[in-house]
Amino acid sequence: MTRDIAVVAFAQSDTLRSTEEVSEVEMLMPVLHDVLAQTGLKTADIGFTCSGSCDYLAGRAFSFTLALDGVGAWPPISESHVETDGAWALYEAWTKLLSGDADTALVYSYGKSSPGSLRDVLTRQLDPYYVAPLWPDSVALAALQAQALIDAGDTDERELAAIGARSRSTDNPRAQLKGPVPQGDYLVRPLRTGDCPPIGDGAAAVVLAAGERARALCERPAWIRGIDHRIEAHSLGVRDLTDSPSTRLAAERAGVFERPVDTAELHAPFSSQEVVLRKALRLDDSTRVNPSGGALAANPMMAAGLARIGEAAARIHRGESDRALAHATSGPCLQQNLVAVLEGDPR
């Protein structure tokens, strides 16, 4: 790698079950102000801006164009957008900084799940001819994966319950679900409510900077030592749901296995998916997994993956981690996965 690039600031909104009183832009604005204030940068100082969101959550086309008005794109800015979780927007921004076209980047993402029925909405991202017409919902698909894991002897319901409980014991003030949460009734067997993420609206933003610029903007930048993402086949019938080869390959490419990580922020919306990811990433008990609570404590669609990178970076900023892993996922049953390795300067 020819250029060092770091996450120098992270901000996020509270994740709330319903935000009827605010528009997406109103939800996003305080987060943008927060992340820029942390660096002292203004919109006009930013070299490249990239965002992630999804029209299907907002229920209308071009929903991201109004967020751009909120950014304050005047004079005109160099800007792009991915129709995916903001983690992939961060990846695009990272390549932009890597090529030398910009020294700083603003990355943000947001999603409101409350206007629709999320379980139904997510069925629309399945194969439109053979699968989507059957409306298999996201919890049912995750339950298939969980059952496959149990059948393979990789986990049991007690371990899954413990993952849910640990995730919600976080002291993260931004978490939507905190404190003792009962494992609850079955939602779709073998998943109980405690194994499933809360449905929430939220936004996240980070600032990236290259080289000396990063050191000037942040006392202890979270250097991106590697970042990679991979996709798997779409059809669940051709995948081994108990494994995540795309996560493993992305981790290899990002350099995860070169040295141990002390922290891992995993985007695992279902407790069973943490089991899959731990195996693919070869994480043992020496790594602290999801101190933020992860997606089981707050899962704002399109922002939860970016928030994992932000949470991992923030721990490095605060001196609570020296080498952290961050993971984001997209698609049913962990179809697409992104892995980043972040490091702080030696203390």
Binding site: L68, D69, L98, P128, E232, S235
Partner: protein
């Protein structure tokens, strides 16, 4: 720090038509991708990453279709990135892909953009009402017609200019086997006699709704050296965005478009675009946008764009040919339209454009825009590599 030069070594597109009922979305995109790979004489195994773009998901009714398309595009086990920047997306997608090569993240990238508009209804996809916000007025034409009027009033352009553009582009399309509209009996009189849709925009001055896909294989210097046919080299590329609606916006000639072009020219060392650029594929969904963009892109002084059109400068055999392929006016799979402009520019620079080839085209501009004239993406490609 130096960037890796980016070469276009493969280009493929589908024959664009109103409805491809014979293929699924996956079948459609695969057709374009296979043609691009064949052109580059590469296989799926040679592709390091896939970057895919399209306009709103509501146009097909599939949320994040890249997930479902991973298999069809040979992306399994590879990075796949999805871009969405409204109508400019085809261009932006190519630029994001190019940056992966320029940053030396990947050597060979397949980039593709598509729209299968027959799966849904773009008019409805664009007309979802939002409380307290102005909806797009009866599709894109309703939104853009007032800006065309403003241009006419501002420049004193005679009301015949729009029909000249449409007549030219539809004739150019006859030379392009992939173009959607092949109107063999087109005459200027027919264009002028077509029904008025959104005054001053007539039916024959608007783009069709198409199903189609366009793909390119982008690679580094080593990849270009192995290419079987001449590559097109990227000499400059940029994106710019500005807000949709605000009091200071010039909807006739947006600042973001000017800034974007200036950035591309700076990268490519273009001092005088009118002299230094041989041909232009620009995003003209309504005929009047040709003279408007000629000014916005610096090919004519303010108020003078229509004079170039009227004088025949932009004809296929003119001094500055514009939309040799027939343009968006003849083919409009929305999400792919920007990439088709970029790909046509590359075809011209490679000397591979067949019947609509501009003789001696060495530096060609590809242009795309989207939203309420707020998103811009452009690249300049040439037959020679950029200076080392």
């Amino acid at each position: 720090m130096s960037k890796e030069p980016v070469a276009v070594v493969g280009i493929g597109q589908t024959k664009h038509v109103a409805a491809r009922r014979d293929v699924s979305i996956a079948g459609l995109v695969r057709e374009a991708a296979v043609r691009a790979l064949d052109d580059a004489e590469l296989t799926w195994a040679d592709v390091d990453a896939v970057v895919i773009g399209k306009a709103p998901d509501f146009f097909e009714g599939v949320m994040m279709p890249e997930l479902y398309l991973a298999d069809a595009l040979g992306a399994v086990g590879k990075p796949m990135l999805r871009v969405h920047t409204a109508g400019s997306v085809g261009g932006s997608t190519a630029l994001v892909a190019a940056n992966l090569v320029a940053a030396r993240v990947h050597s060979t990238v397949l980039t593709l953009a598509f729209e299968k508009q027959s799966e849904s209804n773009a008019m409805w996809g664009l007309s979802l009402p939002i409380p307290f916000q102005q909806p797009l007025l009866a599709g894109a034409g309703g939104f853009f017609a007032p800006h065309v009027r403003a241009y006419m009033r501002r420049t004193g352009a005679p009301d015949t200019v729009g029909s000249l553009v449409a007549y030219k582009d539809r004739r150019n399309a006859l030379k392009n086997p992939y173009a959607h509209l092949h109107e063999h009996d087109i005459t200027l009189e027919k264009v002028q006699a077509s029904p008025m849709l959104w005054d001053p925009i007539r039916y024959s001055e608007t783009c069709p709704s198409s199903d189609g896909a366009c793909a390119m294989v982008l690679t580094d210097r080593a990849g270009a050296a192995r290419a079987p046919r001449p590559p097109a080299w990227m000499l400059g590329g940029a994106m710019r965005s500005e807000p949709t609606l605000f009091a200071g916006k010039d909807a006739v000639s947006p600042q973001a478009g000017k800034d974007c072009a200036a950035d591309v020219y700076r990268q490519a060392g273009i001092a005088d675009p009118r002299r230094d650029i041989d041909a232009v594929e620009m995003y003209v969904p309504f005929s009047w946008y040709e003279p408007m963009w000629l000014e916005n892109l610096g090919f004519a002084d303010e108020g003078e764009g229509w004079k170039l059109t009227e004088a025949g400068v932009t004809e296929l055999d003119g001094d500055l040919p514009v939309n040799m392929s027939g343009g968006v006016l003849s083919t409009n799979p929305i999400g792919a339209s920007g990439m088709i402009r970029f790909a046509e520019a590359a075809l011209q620079a490679r000397g591979q454009a067949g019947e609509h080839q501009v003789e001696g085209a060495r530096r060609v501009l590809g242009h795309a825009y989207g939203g309420g004239s707020q998103f811009f993406s452009m690249w300049l490609v040439g037959s020679e590599p950029p200076d080392a």
